[in-house]
Structure formats: C-alpha cells, structure tokens
C-alpha cells in the first residue's frame, strides 16, 4: 500500500544537473525554430556573400563571378540530380556517381578517337561551322549519355542490387569500393596527370555583354544545357508512367511493388537517367575545361552531393537549385577567402546543412522511422 509522502523525498537522489524549467523550454523552442528559419538564414548569408564581393571587387568582377558560379553550378546540378534520384529511390549515397561523371568525360574522348579512326574527325566537324557544331554535339551527347547510363545500370546490377535489403553499412561500403574501383581503372588507363578532353575549341567566343560583363558562349551553353535537361527531367518524372513509377517506388517500395510496379526495372531506369545526366555534365565539362583527371569525380562528387543535400535530397528540382547555389557559393567564397579553401567551404556547408536542417531547402523526404 502507498507509503506516504515523506518516503518519496528521501528516496530519490538529486539529479546531476538540475535544469531550470524555463531555460529548458527555451532551449527546445529554439531548436525547433532554428530549423524553420534555416531558409531565411541561408538567403541572408548568401546575399551578404554577394554584397561583400561587390563591395570588395566592384560590379564587373561580381558580374563575371556570377556567370562563373552559374555555369559551374550547372555542371554540379547535372551531377547532383543523379545523387538525389538514387538516394530518393533506394536511400543509398552512390559514391561511384562522381566517378561515372569522370568516366563520361573520358568516354567522350574515346568516342571521339574511335570516330576519328572510322574517318569522322569530331573536332573538325565541330569547328567547321554552326551546323557542324550542332551535328557534333548531336553525336557526342547521346552516345556519351548512353554509355554512362549503361555504366550506371551495370553498377547497380552488379554491386547494389543484392544488397538492397541489407543494413545500410553494407551498400555504403560497396559504393565506396565501386568508386575506388572506377578511379583505379581510370588511374591505370589515363595516368595520374591531366587527360586532355580535346574539345576546348568547339565552342568559343563571346555571346553578349551586359553592363560590361562578358558572357562567353561556352558558359551560356553550359547553363542552357543544364536548365534544359533539368526541365526535361522534371517533365519526365511528373508526366510519364515511368516517372510516376519512380516517384511511387521512392515513397514506399512495398506499396509500389504491390501495385504491380516492376521495382527492379524502375530502379534501373533511375540509375540510367541519373548516370546519363552525369554523362551530359561530363561532355559539357569537357567542352569548357580541358582537364580530366582520375580523381576528378571524387571532388566533384562530394560537391554535387552537397548540392543535392542542400536542395533537399530526393527532390530533383532541389538538386538543380542546390547545384546552382553551390556553384555560386563556391565561386564567391573563393573570391573572399581564397581559392585553396573553396573545397573546405563546401564541406563546411555540407556539415552545416546536415546538422541544422537535413531535409534541405525543398525538404521532401521526411524520415519515416519513428
């Protein structure tokens, strides 16, 4: 039977830390609010960044860096899409994706060389006239995208499919292994130095000038391609049956299975599209920069993944926005702190986003665990 009140007081030892109730409540509310205001914080920080550069270096420089950030962001966006789609559908960070991107770049060179052997000199075609350029692009883009897409599908088939129901550690380690495997192959094939992409003369010249800021054709090309691809992909996912299957599988795999969706095929298609986009990014990258390196995918991969997380993992539009944002942040950040730190800035960004607001800007995926 109940003992009486006096016993209760004597029985419990005081806790190690006695937090005053008001302070605790405040702490809990603050945590909740800071997550919600993340978006506002990001925008404010971003605007401050641009303003600082503007104040430091002047309008022209700012404008030029704006364009730089946008085209770099376009490439990141194209790669980020692959990460976000794969994570959305099987909750796996595909470490090998960045290396698929690099591989795509090298593939485009090899395809060019192959065609050259058959008599079709790609560079000559591309630099001859505008029609030739279009023809060259129409040849190189689909071929590269097809190859990288197939590579992505093969990787999934060989390495990830069997581990789909394994605890998260296993496919993660496999992904790291696959990434290193691809890098190793590229290291052996292409050597440790720069591997020329040989496309730098394809698109040259200034497109137009705005307020004294020059916009070059290659930059414009990158941005246009990225935006067009994003839009096309978004349309595909929203309005086609396969797109709907992909969205369904991403939300609830078992329900999708029960609805008659072929999960294996859907996942393969997802990998194909994501990798193909990376391939497109690779061609675009090759046209603007001339350097491919065996470990390029590593850096670009993490940066693109940061973009995907920033935009909201699982959300394609988010990946696009995230990509452009990260490009701008990287460029403006380097302006302020120095180029050697740009990677560290990105990683710091990644850590901040993951800790404060893991769902990102367009936060689509809510952890459905509890």
């Amino acid at each position: 039977m109940p003992n009486g009140e006096a016993a209760a007081a004597a029985v419990v030892e005081p806790p190690a830390v006695i937090a005053p109730p008001l302070l605790t409540r405040f702490r809990l509310r603050f945590a909740a609010i800071s997550a919600q205001f993340f978006l506002a914080f990001m925008i404010a920080a971003f605007v401050a960044l641009i303003a600082l550069v503007f104040a430091n270096k002047g309008g022209n420089e700012t404008g030029a860096q704006l364009i730089n950030g946008l085209y770099l962001g376009g490439i990141y966006a194209l790669i980020a899409v692959g990460y976000t789609m794969v994570y959305g559908i099987i909750e796996l960070i595909n470490f090998a994706h960045g290396d698929v991107f690099t591989f795509g770049g090298m593939l485009s060179v090899w395809i060019g060389a192959l065609l050259g052997k058959v008599g079709l000199d790609m560079t000559k075609l591309a630099t001859s006239n505008f029609g030739g350029l279009v023809a060259a692009l129409l040849i190189i883009f689909p071929l590269t995208m097809l190859c990288t897409g197939l590579l992505g599908v093969t990787i999934e088939r060989v390495a990830y499919r069997r581990l789909r129901n394994a605890p998260r550690l296993a496919p993660l380690i496999t992904a790291v292994g696959m990434s290193f495997f691809l890098e190793g192959i590229m290291f052996v094939t292409a050597g440790s130095g720069n591997y020329g992409a040989q496309k730098e003369n394809w698109i040259t010249g200034t497109a137009f000038t705005v307020h004294g800021v020059q916009v070059f054709w290659p930059q414009l090309f990158v941005i246009l391609v990225a935006v067009i691809m994003m839009v096309a992909l978004q349309v595909f996912v929203r309005f086609t049956r396969i797109g709907k299957a992909m969205r369904a599988t991403a939300q609830d795999r078992d329900a999708a299975l029960l609805s008659g969706i072929n999960i294996n095929r859907t996942i393969s298609v997802t990998f194909f599209i994501g990798s193909a986009m990376a391939g497109a990014g690779a061609v675009v990258y090759a046209i603007y920069y001339d350097l491919l390196q065996w470990n390029l995918g590593f850096k670009f991969g993490i940066i693109a993944f940061t973009a995907a997380v920033l935009g909201g993992i699982g959300n394609i539009l988010g990946a696009g926005i995230g990509g452009f944002l990260i490009g701008l942040i990287a460029v403006f950040g380097s302006e302020l702190i120095g180029g050697a730190w740009s990677n560290s800035i990105i990683f710091a960004m990644l850590i901040t986003v993951l800790v404060l607001r893991p769902t990102g800007l367009l936060g689509m995926r809510v952890p459905d665990r509890a």
């Binding site: 394994a166 296993a170 292994g177 290193f180 190793g184 993490i302 560290s344 665990r369």
Partner: protein, 538 residues
C-alpha cells in the same frame, strides 16, 4: 525483435556465448593453419615456377636445401623433412579416421604434439644456423632474393603448420593466446629473416605496422561503435603533424619521441571528439559523408597552413615539414645512454612499432570487454533501448571517436618520426580507404581480424604487386604474351582496394574473421534507429 520462430534465423547463430568463444578460437586455428599452408606452398612453388621459365635465375628451395648441407644443418633439414611428411601423414590419418569414424590410436594427440615440437625445434635450429651463418645450410650457394624469400616463407609456413596442427587442442581452447604467441615469435624474428634485402623487407613491415594501427583504430569506430568513418586519415594527419611540429626544425622545439607520441595521440583524440560531435545525430550514410568532408578539410588546412601565413607557415604548406627528429633515448648527458639506435638501420623502428602495436592491442582488448565495450554493442544494436537503459549515447559515441582517433594519432606520430618528412599528400582519401579496406577484409569488429586484414593488404601492396612485375615478365615469356610484363602492376593498387571492398560486401560481409555479433547484423539486416530521429519527432 526478430522473429525467433524463424528457423533460418536460428541456424546462423550459436546458442550460447561459450559456443561463440569456441567458434572464434577455432577460427584462429583455421587461420594459422591456412597461413601456414599458404606460406609453405608459396615458398615452395613460386621459385620453381619462376625458375622453370627464366634463364637460370633463382633456385627452388628444395634444390637449395638438399644441395650439400653439412653436419648439424644436414641433420636438421632431414629431420624437418621427415617431420613434415609425418605431419602430412598425420593429417591424412586424422581425416581418414573422421570419415570412417574410427578411433585414433592411444595417445595419438601426444604423438602429434611431439612431432610438432620436433618440427618446430628443427625450424628453430635451421633459423639459428642461418642467422649466425655458422653452417651453410644452403650449401655453397648464396641464394638470390627470390629464393631467399621463398626459403624463409617455407620455414615459417612449416612452423605455423606444425604448431597449429600438432598443438591443435591447446590452440582451440586458448585461441587468443595462441595467436599472440605466433604473432610475437614471427614478428620478433622477422627482421632476422630475408637475408637478401632485409632493409626493404623491414621497411615494408613498418608500413604494415602502421596500417595495422590504423586498422585497429578504425575498427574501434566502425567495428565497435558502428559509425562509418570515411575521413579517418585526418586523425593520422594530426598525429603526424603534431610530431613534426614539436620535434623538428620547423618551430625549433625538440621534444623527445616518447613524449611526442602521447601528445600526438592526445591531439588526435581531442580532434576525434571534436569532429565526431556534429555527426552524433546523423544517420549512417550522412555520418559517413560528413566524416569524409572532415577528412578532406584537415589536409586542406595543412596545405594552406592554417594558423600561419606565408612568412612562417605553421604546417609547412604543400611541402610539409621535413627534418623531423628520429626517436632517441634521452641521454641525460651520459654517453652510456646514447645507443644511437635510430639511424639508417630500420630494425629499431620496426621493433618500436611492433611493441606499439602489441600495447594498443592489449588496451583495445581491455576496452572491448569493459562496460564501454558493452555500451558500444548496445548502441549499435538498439540505440533507443540503450539510452532507455541508462547509457549516455553522446558520451559513448564521442569516446569511440576519441579512442579510435588517438590510436591513429600514435600511428601518425610514429609515421612522422619514421619518414622524417610530413606532407599533406600523405593523408589523402586513399589512406582512409586503405584503412577501411583492411578493416572490412579482416572482419569488422574483430581485433584479430583487422590485424590479419592489415597484414594481408600490406602483403599484397608491398610484396605481391611489385613482385608481379617480375613474375609476369617470365610468365609472359613462357606463354608468349610479352605485353604482360609491361603492365605496371603497382598502379593497380586502387583497383585492388575497390575489388576487395565490393567482393567482401557481396560475398562475405562480415570479413575473413567475423566477429560474432557483427556477422549476424551485417548479413540479416538488423538495424538500429538513431535516438535523435526518435526524439525529434515532436
């Protein structure tokens, strides 16, 4: 809770803790047996193979051994040979008896043990004779490098085989002790073998030692606590840079090595906790990527000379810090204490790292069996239940990071002193992946396993891949594909790592020497939800 009525589930796991301990001990037995057989075969066949196809270079160990030894050596060699045959016969008889379910003769195990001891003594005798060069056991021929290696491998292989087979019951009941004994004997005598290129071999062994330390440390984070850390090289870097900064010309401070090594470990441990702190509430894959990010930031910071400027870079920038002191005993002004050991001779370095590894293994084993080790297992299994049972998950995870990182710090400190130069390029992502590969290959969560994994990976990287260059040359000549010799096999390092990781995860996720709990976890999909996820649902 997994369904206990599921028959498949019950098959995998032994029923009691005692059965598991027995299983783990017999795993050690199989390991030592397999190692012995492998070395024996490798030593025996490889030179023969190369010799047949090359132009008279290299002799098979058997040729060398039977070619006119004299006196005691002759006797020892023949005794060893007879022992080997007898042991083989014994194995055959054992297998026969098991298959036909006969009883073995009275005191069979004693006979077996006796044979083993005899064989071991012969090996020891040959060893002493060769090392002291008192008898040309190998006849009048000075064996070339390949044959020299082969002979030592054969001897070691035979020793292991005799030991594990002959003393089988003892090995099975005292698995840990047996492995330690073997490791110490082989490890201690190692520098005395390989007469042809002792410097290089011992140098390689030092790297193997460093990899072992890295594997042990990473095993604490990934294996014990279940946190996938992909930026492990960062702590290695911190250990190395601490050493370099505090015992070189860079800042004019010259602390003795024996002090530095602890400072490096402490610094790394501190950073382990710092860098681990933001990751505590994250899910497994995000945690991995964040640690990856840190693994990149630290070498970047070193490269860009954080806390310094161009005039006086604190970390030496891209060129790093050179001129790091070698370890030395403090002389206290008495010449008698100046052993002058750590010069060009790699042996003292080797013994230092051997002792270091031994100490760390002891410490980690202690932790594994303490309440902290139990807490790690609990958190890995079910974080929510662990917290409800009274475990401070934050503190426990931070300790995992800190302890794992400090082991890496030890390795880094030694690395700095060993090489004399520390540059940011030493700490690229490849180092983290190498550490991960050794842990995954050897067995996540199993101390013995990760040591084996590290030794195997080192063996492949330092002996097999460079060796392939030579051997493939002769193979190519035989088979007619000359191209085989032009391939730079050492470049395939990364491909090898990748294949190992993928292969192990697909075929045997728990590694070569699985740790019991991890084995079932990794293969049947048990996963714990993060506490933070549950607490943030409000």
């Amino acid at each position: 809770m997994p369904d206990i009525a599921d028959p498949q589930a019950r098959v995998d796991l032994p029923d009691t803790g005692r059965q598991t301990r027995a299983a783990e001990s017999s795993a050690v037995l199989w390991l030592v047996l397999a190692g012995g057989v492998l070395l024996l075969l490798l030593g025996w066949l490889l030179p023969w193979f190369v010799e047949q196809t090359a132009s008279g270079v290299g002799h098979s160990p058997m040729d060398v051994i039977v070619s006119s030894p004299t006196g005691i050596g002759w006797l020892a060699v023949w005794a060893m040979g007879i022992c080997m045959l007898a042991l083989l016969a014994g194995v055959g008889y054992d297998v026969f008896a098991q298959l036909t379910e006969r009883a073995t003769p009275f005191r069979w195990s004693r006979i077996r043990a006796g044979l083993a001891i005899l064989g071991g003594l012969c090996v020891l005798l040959i060893f002493i004779l060769v090392v002291t060069r008192s008898e040309l056991v190998f006849g009048d021929q000075t064996p070339d490098a390949l044959t020299d290696n082969a002979v030592w491998m054969m001897l070691t292989g035979f020793g292991l085989l005799a030991f594990s087979y002959g003393l089988r019951p003892w090995v099975v009941t005292h698995g840990g002790l047996a492995f330690t004994a073997v490791a110490f004997v082989v490890g201690g005598l190692f520098p005395l073998m390989f007469n042809q290129s002792p410097g290089f071999v011992v140098w390689g062994a030092q790297f193997a030692g460093i990899y072992t330390l890295l594997a042990l440390g990473l095993n604490v984070v990934v294996g014990f606590a279940g946190l996938l850390d992909l930026g492990y090289a960062a702590f290695f870097a911190i250990g190395a840079y601490s050493t370099a900064s505090l015992s070189s010309a860079a800042h004019g401070i010259h602390l003795p090595f024996w002090v530095i090594i602890f400072i490096g470990a402490a610094a790394a441990g501190l950073f382990g906790a710092l860098l681990g702190a933001p990751t505590l509430r994250l899910r497994g894959d995000y945690l991995a990527i964040v640690t990856l990010g840190f693994g990149e930031i630290v070498p970047d910071a070193a490269r860009n000379s954080l806390f310094g400027n161009l005039a006086r870079p604190s970390t030496g920038g891209p060129n790093g810090i050179s001129g790091v002191d070698s370890p030395a005993f403090p002389t206290h002004g008495h010449a008698i204490f100046d052993y002058g050991l750590f010069g060009a001779n790699p042996r003292p370095y080797y013994y230092t790292i051997l002792i270091l590894v031994a100490l760390i293994v002891v410490v980690l084993r202690n932790v594994e069996r303490s309440r902290l080790g139990r807490a790690w297992v609990a958190i890995r299994e079910d974080e929510v239940a662990a917290a409800a049972t009274g475990i401070n998950t934050v503190q426990t995870k931070l300790l995992a990071f800190a302890i794992g990182a400090s082991v890496s710090g030890f390795a880094g400190a030694f690395f700095g002193a060993m090489l004399g130069t520390v540059t940011p390029d030493n700490f690229e992502f490849a180092v983290s992946v190498t550490a991960l590969t050794t842990v995954v290959l050897g067995g996540i969560g199993n101390i013995t396993g990760v040591i084996v994994g590290a030794l195997l990976v080192s063996f492949v990287i330092f002996w097999v891949l460079p060796g392939l260059q030579e051997w493939m040359g002769t193979v190519g000549n035989t088979v007619g594909i000359s191209g085989l010799s032009t391939i730079q096999y050492s470049d395939y390092k990364y491909v090898v790592y990748g294949l190992i990781l993928i292969g192990i995860m697909l075929l045997r996720p728990s590694g070569l020497l699985p740790s019991r709990a991890r084995k079932v976890e990794l293969e049947t999909g048990a996963e714990s939800e993060p506490l933070a996820a549950v607490r943030e649902t409000g």
